[in-house]
């Protein structure tokens, strides 16, 4: 009996292990090939180990600018989307008002809309208006647009578990509504807001489809890769990818750590704790339930 159980446990763990491997192999490949020393242009057959690519990651013309553009857009769109989204979430969770349900649904639609459609639609608008000229601005607009819903939903899930009596208490102690928000509400939903921001940043810096529609002559990192992929991906790109990867992992570990601390203190039920990049799970559950 117990023997059989141990057998099952073992199988389960092994299976899970394999699943993890499946998730990690491609990344290993990328890291490995960033050290490759390819003959000619093509970097998908292992030749031999070399640090050249690491020594001059930005040797490839244009990749530096592309990356810079991507980072700028990611940063700006993250800030924009996070602010707008948090405000929206506050309104949705905190207030009973006419048309809340429809708004909730409206917020959800972009999530159920394929990226191609989002990009295409936005392009048709820009084309018809002719302005603004496709480029940095239009990409930024697009990114804030598709990040908004994600932010709203992530923050909302956090707000829902929020203990209102804390705000009553603050007011009882003489805090004005604004003070209440600044000193009590905001600090407590911060982990949610941070999760949202991280999610937004990740989505933005990674987006190809929507950007491709609205980029005009501006080239972001993914667009650059797309172009290069038609010819040859130099190892430098794998190097940069690896660097981005390592950087984000570091950030993640930090946030996970600080969120753990936050969760410990937070008045919200601990089961509201979400992985920092946690998906808008509750919202979807709610929508699915509606």
């Amino acid at each position: 009996m117990t023997l059989r159980r141990r057998g099952i446990d073992w199988l389960l763990n092994a299976y899970a292990g394999l699943a993890l491997v499946y998730l990690l192999v491609p990344i290993a490949v990328i890291v490995v090939f960033s050290f490759n020393n390819p003959i000619g242009r093509f970097n998908f057959i292992w030749q031999d180990f070399s640090l050249d690519a690491w020594k001059h990651p930005f040797a490839v013309q244009g990749v530096g600018d592309a990356l810079k553009t991507s980072l700028e857009i990611a940063a700006l769109s993250t800030v924009g989307a996070t602010i707008l989204g948090t405000l929206t979430a506050l309104a949705l969770v905190r207030y009973e008002f006419k048309g809340r349900a429809p708004v909730n649904f409206f917020i959800f639609i972009p999530l159920a809309t394929p990226e191609v459609v989002l990009g295409a639609a936005l392009l048709s608008q820009f084309l018809n208006l002719g302005t603004p000229q496709l480029g940095f601005a239009t990409i930024l607009i697009a990114h804030i647009m598709f990040n908004l819903s994600f932010v709203v939903i992530t923050v909302r899930s956090r707000l829902i578990g929020f203990d209102r009596s804390l705000e009553e208490a603050a007011q009882d102690l003489g805090a004005t509504p604004w003070e209440t928000f600044r000193l009590v509400t905001l600090p407590l939903i911060m982990p949610g807001v941070i999760s949202a921001a991280l999610l937004a940043f990740a989505l933005s810096i990674d987006d190809f489809v929507i950007t491709n529609f609205n980029s005009g002559s501006t080239i972001t990192f993914p667009l650059f890769i797309w172009g290069a992929a038609r010819v040859a991906i130099p190892p430098q790109i794998y190097v940069i990818a690896t660097m981005i990867f390592l950087f984000t992992v570091a950030v993640m570990i930090l946030t996970v750590w600080q969120q753990r601390r936050a969760e410990k203190m937070a008045a919200v039920r601990p089961d509201d704790a979400e992985p920092p990049l946690g998906p808008p799970e509750p919202a979807f559950a709610q929508r699915a339930a509606a």
Binding site: I39, R41, F44, Q61, S217, I219, W226
Partner: protein, 358 residues
């Protein structure tokens, strides 16, 4: 200092050539990826000489894709800041037809008149090269892996050999693929009828459905052939030359029935802020010693006379490569795809797009 942009939509004939002006301090060139030497020597030299900072953007991945991107602006007389774009013959033709590009002033481009090779002086779509100047030309033919195929493919028909099932790719550029296939079916793409092209498309379609053709590609075919995922394909001469350098097993052959000779042309879009400077740059790269650097890297057919001589000293291998400096005899096996009327183009495009599944 910017030049007066010509009004858009004007009939090409009535257009006035670009007025003389002074050299601007910036220039925006839209070109294909990896279509210039890695150091971008010509750009730096140009800057040294004229103090013009050149914004060189590799934003053209595909003629139609690029056209879709810029159409709206161009039709409103906006160039989106571009001073030069590089597109293939038929797209260049469309740009001219739509009045999206400015008439060039040859008096400002002595080197072009002097060094442009004969075969390219008067293409059907722009007989006097009033609206386009070749950047590079190329041949569409068969690229294959010596070590994989059982015998050297001579004609396009060999690509339909069941032995190569799933190891054949063709190009998403309709004129390249349909052209060579139609030629292999006895048509002459210089003047073939739409029906003859449609027949070719049908043949390709069947091969695609049967799985004989692995897929249709843009530049990315170079990957597959190098990896050995494909064995015998329709591809471009320039790539073949470069690939050969890395892997001697890769060979290019011009089909007996004829390969496609195409050209990517520089044009100055209407509304280009620095049209005159653009002309200056075009002229600049038509100096053999400037062109040599580019040719040595991209390995397509070099449209500039005198480069061969320049390279003969430094790099005889390239100088003697018929794929880069073909003699007339070599070029007789080639055809230039005929200009299509809009409705014909629409019909063939749609048919072809269906076949390649997009």
């Amino acid at each position: 200092g910017t030049d007066e942009p010509a009004g858009s939509g004007q009939k090409a004939s009535e257009q006035k050539p670009i007025a003389k002006g002074k050299i601007a301090d910036s220039l925006y060139i839209a070109n294909w990826p990896l279509y210039i030497d890695e150091k971008r020597q010509s750009l730096q030299d140009f800057q040294k000489k004229y103090g013009t900072k050149i914004k060189y953007v590799e934003e053209v991945n595909d003629n139609t894709e690029f056209f879709g991107k810029v159409r709206q602006q161009y039709s409103q007389g906006e160039a989106g800041g571009r001073d030069i774009h590089v597109v293939t013959d038929w797209m260049a033709a469309r740009m001219i037809r739509l009045g999206f590009v400015q008439k060039l002033d040859h008096s400002a481009m002595p080197n072009v008149d002097q060094n442009l090779i004969e075969r390219l002086k008067s293409p059907p779509f722009d007989p006097k090269r009033d609206f386009s100047v070749p950047w590079q030309s190329g041949l569409t033919g068969i690229i294959y892996r010596k070590d994989k195929v059982k015998r050297e493919p001579k004609s396009v028909d060999d690509l339909f050999d069941p032995a190569y099932k799933g190891k054949v790719t063709m190009l998403t550029e309709m004129r390249d693929t349909v052209g060579v296939v139609a030629a292999s079916m006895g048509a002459d793409p210089e003047k073939a009828s739409v029906d003859e092209f449609m027949k070719a498309i049908d043949k390709i379609g069947q091969a695609s459905d049967s799985g004989q053709i692995r897929g249709f590609t843009g530049n990315e075919y170079t990957k597959d052939i190098t990896k050995g995922d494909s064995w015998a394909i329709i591809g471009w001469s320039g790539d073949a030359v470069q690939l050969q350098a890395d892997n001697p097993n890769i060979q290019f052959v011009l089909p007996e029935t004829g390969g496609h000779l195409w050209t990517d042309n520089m044009q100055v879009p209407v509304g280009a802020p620095h049209a005159f400077t653009a002309e200056k740059y075009m002229d600049f790269v038509y100096q053999p010693e400037v062109q040599a650097v580019i040719a040595a890297y991209v390995n397509y057919i070099c449209p500039v006379n005198g480069v061969k001589e320049v390279l003969a000293k430094e790099d005889p291998a390239i100088a003697n490569n018929p794929l880069i400096f073909p003699d007339e005899s070599f070029l007789k096996d080639t055809f230039i795809f005929r200009g299509l009327k809009p409705d014909e183009e629409q019909q063939l495009d749609n048919a072809f797009q269906k076949v390649i599944g997009a």
